[in-house]
């Protein structure tokens, strides 16, 4: 990943965009071909819409798959989550491929609720072969597709599923198939996200750590909309946490210390995990419940499974169906097939490897 560059750019971008509220155009692109169906990928909190804008995230790169790519520039091997999640190795060695479509939206200059409107409108255009939203200029039509999301994309797909505002996507015969996969999805707000909201006014507030995460500055609508009070309020009104179909969650393994990978900090790009863990301690929230949902680095795990099965945590507002599917050592920043795949991740016919969750998506999500 391009984490250091990303954070630096976010720090600048957040400053530049702090006083603006202009959301930018949504895009839709076919990234990889495939013959067995379509998977739509919705990225996390970033503005991947207009490369010419200051708020454009370098994580998005110059390629619609950029957000999902493990960049070679900082030690990655060029794999991307999008590719890995759309290829399946069959028992006879043959391959099944799925088409990968990327939706790029503005998750910085608007609340996740408004970003949801943009994404949902784009998905409806994809389902109908129209271009009402402006994202589907090629009039691509896919009447059915699966959905894989990362980070803030979790809040977006959860709102689409919970609200029933878009029955053409989620109702009977709707375009979205099966169980969406949320990789480190921000399904509920976090206390620590809220804590970081105030860092700009603090002279000594966790300064040694905050300097590292300056790019987190939550002084924009996208960040603030994902804080705890905001998301829980929406959940209690029925607009979140009410998915009537299973959402397959790729969660982090949790734990204290680094908040999300038990203080093991020397796995390539995750060297920043220890500072992140110290930050969690600094802001006073070290349990996974409290750190879940922080943007960028932390997984979110606030949801309950009915009957408390499969490791679900109870939040009464989350009456929907959220399945703790894969617990990945990869953290929020890295589980887009990241550093680990170089040594440990690969596609195989009869299993997957949690450290590279894309292998699990490709083999078992459909």
């Amino acid at each position: 990943m391009r984490l250091p560059i990303l954070l630096a750019s976010l720090a600048i971008a957040s400053f530049v965009t702090a006083s603006t509220a202009e959301a930018n155009k949504t895009h839709l692109d076919i990234v990889w071909g495939g013959t067995s169906g379509t998977v739509v990928f919705i990225h996390g909190k970033a503005n991947c819409s207009e490369p010419s804008l200051a708020s454009f995230s370098t994580a998005c790169g110059n390629d619609p798959r950029g957000y999902w790519l493990n960049s070679t520039s900082d030690g990655g091997d060029g794999h991307d989550f999008m590719d890995e999640a759309t290829i399946k190795v069959n028992a006879d060695g043959s391959l099944t491929t799925f088409e990968a479509i990327a939706v790029r939206y503005d998750g910085e200059n608007q609340s996740f609720q408004n970003a949801t409107n943009d994404v949902a409108a784009c998905l409806q255009d994809l389902a109908a072969g129209t271009n009402t939203s402006g994202c589907n200029t090629s009039l691509i039509r896919r009447t059915s597709f699966s959905v894989v999301v990362h980070s803030m994309g979790g809040a977006i797909i959860d709102r689409i599923l919970s609200s029933n505002f878009w029955p053409k996507l989620t109702g009977t015969g709707g375009a979205i198939l099966g169980s969406p996969v949320t990789s480190a999805g921000a399904l509920a707000g976090a206390k620590s996200a809220s804590a970081l909201f105030g860092v700009d006014g603090a002279s000594n507030f966790c300064t040694s750590f905050v300097s590292f995460v300056a790019g987190w500055a939550l002084k924009n609508a996208g960040g603030q909309s994902l804080t705890r009070g905001s998301v829980i309020g929406e959940a209690r009104n029925g607009l979140a946490g009410k998915s009537p179909r299973w959402v397959l969650k790729v969660t982090s393994t949790g734990g204290t210390g680094s908040c999300n990978n038990n203080s093991v900090d020397s796995i390539a790009e995750s060297v920043n995990d220890t500072p992140m863990g110290l930050l969690c301690g600094c802001v006073g929230f070290s349990s996974s419940d409290d750190t879940d949902g922080v943007l960028w680095q932390f997984d979110t795990d606030p949801t309950s499974n009915p009957s408390g099965s499969n490791g679900g945590k109870l939040r009464a507002e989350y009456t929907g169906l959220y399945w703790h599917w894969v617990a990945s050592f990869a953290n929020h920043s890295h589980n887009r097939n990241d550093a680990y795949v170089r040594k440990y991740g690969f596609q195989t016919s009869n299993a997957c490897f949690p450290i590279s969750p894309g292998t699990c998506v490709g083999q078992f999500a459909r």
């Binding site: 702090a18 509220a21 076919i30 990889w32 495939g34 169906g37 798959r65 290829i87 028992a91 060695g93 391959l95 609720q113 409107n117 072969g129 090629s138 691509i140 039509r141 009447t143 609200s163 029933n164 878009w166 015969g173 809220s194 804590a195 909201f197 006014g201 603090a202 002279s203 507030f205 609508a221 603030q224 909309s225 705890r228 009070g229 959940a235 209690r236 029925g238 009410k242 009537p244 397959l248 393994t253 093991v264 020397s266 796995i267 600094c282 802001v283 109870l314 009464a316 399945w323 990945s328 050592f329 680990y340 040594k343 440990y344 690969f346 016919s349 009869n350 299993a351 949690p354 450290i355």
Partner: protein, 378 residues
């Protein structure tokens, strides 16, 4: 003559090489035709790390690099309009935001809107307090401030207000260190609202804490208080009467609990209604009650009516009714234990290979360039 010997020698060497290759190759299996290879399958195992002298990364936990087959969730047995309830929650509220006062400080700043759903012309009321977690007591927060703005507006849209602890202007108790701001924002704030609490303390600097709420005109519809209930087709059907001031799409959400407030189910219904008085229908899927094994009478609680503007992805909620209705004394076994079966109503499937899509732009990347192909192990 010398040239002949050279030619003969070369032929001899070629012949020897050919013989050697034949002898080496005759025990090898016949080569398969070059087609889509079907490779014998071996159980997956942890892959060997490629040799990379520059790569001194530690080995991750074994469970992360061991073959793994994720467990699939169980079948869905309830329809979208009925969900299992594990505890009551109150629509129109949210949680305290809590952040530490600062580095090396154990006190916590807390910030909460009195209501998440604020229906105009009611004021937006915000609470702020600093709490010592060790004692649970609130402490002096000097003169905190609060401000609000439309969520997606710029910084120039903030409306700021002082917070007070004098028992006036919406503050409930003077001197209790719970500070209150009461803001009458007017129509320009209608919609989602971002709020911020601001504390400035000597030695701690400026601290900000976020919150959110909805400022709304309300659904322009209300429940009249009249309800009906019946067991029908194995399910419990609840029918509240709704008075609608202006036509629209309305979502009704309610929680069904047992006689001692045991949580049973969350139910929802969405209907388009014209102005006038209507009976809405809330169906509680029978299996939710049957499996809960809780006999009635049931109480309908935490009822919220919303006017939905689905095109804009927004909504206008009304006030929450904490206790709306008590049903007749049904028994749990009066209801069906049948699982919900989702209808399969799909039209023609149009995908990338459909003739209508032949003019689609090609994928941005060629299939043979997929990085994962390099790492495939059957």
């Amino acid at each position: 003559m010398k040239k002949r010997w050279l030619v003969a020698g070369a032929l001899l060497i070629v012949g020897a090489l050919a013989l050697l290759l034949y002898l080496l190759g005759r025990d090898a299996p016949a080569r398969k035709p070059v087609t889509a290879a079907v490779t014998p399958i071996a159980p997956a195992g942890p892959p060997a790390a490629p040799a990379d002298p520059a790569d001194d990364l530690p080995t991750p936990p074994a469970d992360q690099i061991s073959p793994f087959v994720p467990e699939r969730p169980p079948p869905v047995v309830l329809p979208p309009d009925t969900q299992q309830l594990t505890g009551e929650f109150v629509p129109g509220t949210t949680e305290w935001e809590e952040v530490p006062l600062g580095e090396g400080r154990h006190e916590v700043i807390r910030f909460l809107p009195a209501h998440y759903n604020v229906i105009a012309p009611q004021p937006i009321v915000l609470y702020l307090e600093i709490v010592d977690p060790a004692t649970g007591k609130r402490i002096d927060a000097a003169l905190p401030r609060a401000r609000v703005k439309p969520f997606d507006a710029g910084d120039d849209a903030w409306i700021e207000a002082a917070m007070r602890d004098d028992g006036r202007g919406g503050d409930e108790v003077a001197g209790d260190h719970r500070y209150t701001a009461s803001i009458q924002p007017g129509p320009k704030l209608l919609g989602r609202v971002a709020a911020e609490g601001i504390v400035e303390l000597a030695g701690a600097g400026v601290r900000r804490i976020p919150q959110a709420l909805i400022y709304t005109n309300g659904p322009r519809a209300h429940l009249t208080g009249r309800w009906r209930d019946e067991a029908k087709d194995g399910h419990l059907v609840l029918s509240p009467e709704l008075a609608v001031e202006a036509a629209g799409t309305f979502t009704l959400m309610a929680q069904l609990v047992g006689p001692t407030r045991q949580p049973i189910a969350l139910v929802r219904a969405t209907e388009q209604l014209d102005a006038g008085t209507h009976w809405m229908t809330l169906r509680v899927w029978g299996k939710a009650i049957h499996d809960a094994e809780i006999d009635g009478p049931y109480e309908v609680r935490n009822v919220l009516i919303r006017r939905d503007n689905a095109e804009q992805g927004s909504y206008e909620p009304g006030p929450t009714i904490l206790s709306a209705y008590h049903t007749r004394p049904y028994r749990a076994k009066d209801f069906s234990d049948a699982a919900y079966v989702e209808p399969t109503a799909r039209g023609e499937d149009i995908g990338p290979t459909h003739p209508s899509q032949r003019d689609n732009p090609p994928p941005l990347h060629r299939d043979e360039d997929r990085p994962s192909r390099r790492g495939i192990r059957p």
